[in-house]
Symmetry: C2
């Protein structure tokens, strides 16, 4: 059992490794942005989440202190009011991880890390060409979080593409079919294999496997 | 490809199924809370995330409209300034999912769904006894998000326990060893099996597998 004093006594890197493990498995996507001159940026992100379905809202946490590429992402979103989320496969995870290196602003991770750019009509940010899941978001709200200098950015989903065969009749996406990965801590990329589905839970009804 | 008008034309349930699939795999934990009379509540959550490691901060999104148990969680946190996060296994996922049924406030999901309560010194919220990962958080900040009526709650990690054999030398936790699950969409519980780890990314250095 670790107490607050144990945590504050830890060295910076092992503490970051530990605390980043606490949410459990995290979502893994590549965030595509650009500035007003269409200088592109691509960054791996794990602190993003569903905020609501109607309107369809997703949100990101960006940390100014955790790598220059994230600062570029934040600056681009505030300048250009848009971002994309793009899935990647386990085979691509080495190069997705490489986007977290502190590349200078004028070097695009799309080029350096080997992810081809795709522009789509009506979306001002770049997509990763060939990504199974492509989500275009328009910026809606910015909440600076004073407690540690991070930023919460909320966007509305305005564009969506995925393979039709991964779209189940009930509306959900089959992420395993799409090869989507998940992340543990700061450095581990994983593929789920075993799954169980359940019907919506009701009082006085036992859980029903789908 | 789906446009904003396609999305707004969808029916409520399939749209929720689709939009909840968009972040990719989500973290899955059970949130333990109680009110000032120690009436306990347990709710499954997938919209929680790492906010920072120093101080160690985690955050939750709670949606007033998505089930009565979440409203209880929000009320309890605001009343009692504390919550716990508890991992569960794939074998326990049916009963973890069952916590999302709209139980009345005076019925504790700990009892009804078969998760034994554990109280620990210095933490005012209840833990799930036997959970491999137990995190105690003290409430720090509340940000109501006007865009859709959700609430962002930020807490500091003040208590932490996990099996020593899952704590790697570098500080990270081996979530696979602990049997932690991940969630896709609203109803699918998965176990990762294949993984790759990489060293911290650097400019001009090829990705290095660990």
């Amino acid at each position: 059992m670790l107490s607050p004093s144990d945590l504050s006594a830890m060295e910076r890197t092992p503490r970051a490794m530990l605390i980043n493990s606490l949410p459990g498995y995290k979502p893994a996507m590549l965030v595509g942005t650009c500035n007003s001159k269409r200088l592109t940026n691509l960054a791996i992100i794990t602190s993003h989440f569903h905020l609501g379905s109607n309107p369809p809202l997703l949100a990101l946490i960006l940390r100014p202190s955790s790598g220059r590429s994230e600062r570029h992402t934040l600056a681009n979103i505030l300048e250009n009011k848009s971002w994309t989320l793009n899935s990647f496969t386990l085979k691509e995870s080495a190069m997705a991880h490489q986007t977290s290196a502190p590349y200078p602003r004028d070097e695009s991770e799309f080029n350096t890390c080997g992810f081809p750019v795709e522009w789509q009509e009506g979306v001002t940010s770049p997509f990763v060409e060939g990504a199974a899941l492509q989500v275009g978001c328009e910026f809606r709200e910015h909440h600076p979080l004073d407690i540690n200098g991070t930023h919460l950015l909320i966007g509305e989903v305005t564009h969506l593409s995925f393979p039709q065969e991964a779209h189940r009749c009930d509306g959900s996406l089959d992420l395993m079919h799409m090869g989507v990965v998940t992340i543990s801590g700061l450095d581990t990329y994983l593929l789920p294999s075993t799954s169980q589905r359940f019907a919506a839970a009701e009082i006085d009804v036992a859980p029903r496997r789908l």
